[in-house]
Amino acid sequence: MGERTVVLGVIGADVHAVGLRILDYALRSAGFDVVNIGVLSSQEDFIKAAIESGARAILVSSLYGHAELDCRGFKEKLQEAGLENILLYIGGNLGIGQKNWEEVEKKFKELGFHRVYPPKTMPDEVIRDLKKDLGLEK
């Protein structure tokens, strides 16, 4: 697949499906090829889909508050799979409870994510960033 392929899914035991549906729709409308692996996806599911589709980015969604536990070791697994260069975003409600956003962002950057999005991020923003990071916009 081409340079516009991205893998999208909700990680862990999380079933929040609405944001995913919207992201899927928005990314497609913006010309991306979206491999949507749905909710309740494991790290392995993401990696498998990325390899199979030759995706250039993985977009992880997590709403339910367990993102941190669910994302531990993800970076290492990606490296093992030879995906060390893939672009890695995460968004949703990443902390449990009322957290300081700077801390949350820092934590997920440490876990290997290139961009970390606060709750209520609108799809436009991600699309802009993706295009920029993938060098699709001149």
């Binding site: 609405v18 508050g65 009322q98």
Partner: protein, 483 residues
């Protein structure tokens, strides 16, 4: 798998029970005889069904927050705070998401890390891991009944442990805790798991201990048309009653149009009672539950308060038995205890100020009731038909063929074609009926309502309109108007 709406054979239950109790070490703590004695020894004010009965007799609406943290003593302190400071009438214990997927090992890890790091790595209370004894500390530390709330397709072990521990209400059902909460659990399985739970509750009932069972009406929380939610509530009530449940609550997630919300709660109450009776279940104590808006919330607390206060109006007018209260921090994350208690106070104040007020247009209400009732009957009768007289069989077949469908559900066992959108007054209508078995009268009604909005907004009804509606409340309004 073979599934029927038929009271289980006791041996069948006992065999399965062995397996269930052995699936995690704490299962062996459950001793039914001892549990009966324990529950019988609890004061009546700790029994949900008693509290619900008192409330409906006095026309009072009860308030219940959402709450659950992974560390036991914190969880107790949280519940006490919500009881004393917030004035909660019924307390919750919300279960974490690993437990909901029966991933007790990960839950255990979550408890341990939470204890070690002094912050919560789980989004709820992992009751299975704690076991019966630890759970009883909760019941013994508060003065009001406590309900288990979760989202677990297979909650058999959770039910065994928590009922024995003295939780007198248990939320969920084979449909409502599968379709919005799972991706690939077949409905036959989840219905079977929940027949187990209901049968267990039936055993308690035989001992004179009434455990309240509650269906999770809001489903995906996102623009669910009332008739879908009501049909599913009725089916779960029937399934539960067949297994011996004697106290049941049907729930409904606020849509936002006051007429539609009040009409829905009335029809939910009326038709559930009617169908229960027509199936021969005469002795089920039925009550209704309203959930404040279950979709995306505004991040701003003042706006979130507005959504909450606004949501209470329909509860007050419909005299619903219980409201499950949202908080001003809904959009951000699990709320602080203060925010949670504040939401209860806010809700109580609105309820009290609307006490005895009746300003609803009965004609509009009847019109809306009429259409909802027709929709519900259309679906339910068809479910019964294709189930060849068995509502459980019918349900499975209805979901696979789209006769029953839930919008935005993650489960692959939904047909997934129904698409809702708001009309020009904010009521949730059908934009795509999928395979719902509606006649022309119903379909035209919805079409006309949507055309009215399309004309008003000078644009076609489209997925963009649906998107706008999904975001609308979080962006400050009910209807997703263009721009």
């Amino acid at each position: 798998m073979f599934i029927k709406n038929k009271k289980w054979d006791h041996k069948y239950f006992l065999n399965m029970r062995e397996e269930v109790l052995n699936s995690w070490p704490t299962g062996r703590e459950v001793d039914l005889k001892e549990a009966f004695l324990y529950l019988a020894s609890l004061p009546k004010e700790k029994h949900t069904d008693y509290v619900l009965k008192e409330a409906s007799q006095n026309g009072k609406t009860l308030l219940q927050p959402r709450a659950g943290v992974p560390i036991l003593k914190d969880h107790i302190a949280l519940l006490q705070y919500l009881q004393d400071e917030g004035g909660a009438d019924i307390l919750p214990t919300t279960i974490d998401s690993y437990t909901r997927q029966n991933r007790y090992k990960e839950a255990q890890l979550g408890i341990e890390e939470s204890l070690k790091e002094g912050r919560y790595l789980l989004n709820g209370f992992p009751a299975v891991n704690y076991g019966v004894k630890a759970c009883r500390e909760i019941i013994e530390s508060v003065k009001v009944p406590v309900e288990i709330r979760h989202g677990t397709p297979d909650a058999r072990l959770l039910a065994e442990i928590t009922l024995a521990a003295g939780f007198t209400s248990f939320e969920g059902g084979g449909i409502t805790y599968n379709i919005p909460y799972a991706k690939d659990v077949p409905l036959e399985n989840s219905i079977l798991y929940w027949q187990y739970v209901d049968y267990l509750v039936g055993i308690y009932a035989q001992e004179g201990i009434l455990i309240n069972r509650e269906s999770f009406g809001p489903l995906t929380g996102t623009l669910v048309p009332p008739s879908i939610s009501i049909v599913i509530g009725i089916i779960e009530a029937i399934l539960a009653a067949e297994q011996g449940v004697k106290s049941f609550s049907v729930g409904y997630g606020q849509c936002g149009n006051i007429i539609q919300d009040v009409a829905s709660i009335k029809i939910l109450d009326k038709l559930t009672k009617e169908y229960l009776a027509s199936f021969g279940y005469y002795d089920v104590h039925l009550t209704t539950v309203l959930h404040h808006w279950m979709g995306g919330f505004p991040e701003d607390e003042a706006k979130a308060y507005a959504v909450i206060s606004f949501g209470t109006i329909a509860g007050a007018i419909s005299k619903v038995t219980k409201i499950i209260v949202k908080t001003p921090q809904e959009a951000i994350g699990i709320p602080t205890k203060e925010a949670n208690a504040s939401a209860l106070k806010n809700t109580r104040q609105v309820l009290n100020m609307l006490e005895n007020q009746n300003f609803i247009d009965e004609d509009k209400l009847s019109q809306e009731e009429y259409i909802i009732e027709r929709e519900v009957r259309s679906i339910l009768n068809r479910v019964y038909e294709i189930g060849e007289g068995d509502i459980a069989v019918g349900t499975v077949r209805a979901f696979s063929s789209g006769i029953l469908d839930v919008p935005f559900a993650p489960s692959k066992y939904t047909y997934g074609r129904v698409m809702p959108v708001r009309d020009n007054e904010g009521a949730i209508r059908y934009f795509d009926f999928g395979n719902l078995p509606f006649d022309e009268e119903i379909k035209n009604f919805h079409k006309e309502r949507l055309e009215e909005r399309a004309r008003f907004e000078k644009r076609e009804v489209s997925f963009q309109m649906v998107l706008d509606d999904i975001y609308a409340i979080s962006k400050g309004r009910l209807i997703g108007r263009p721009r």
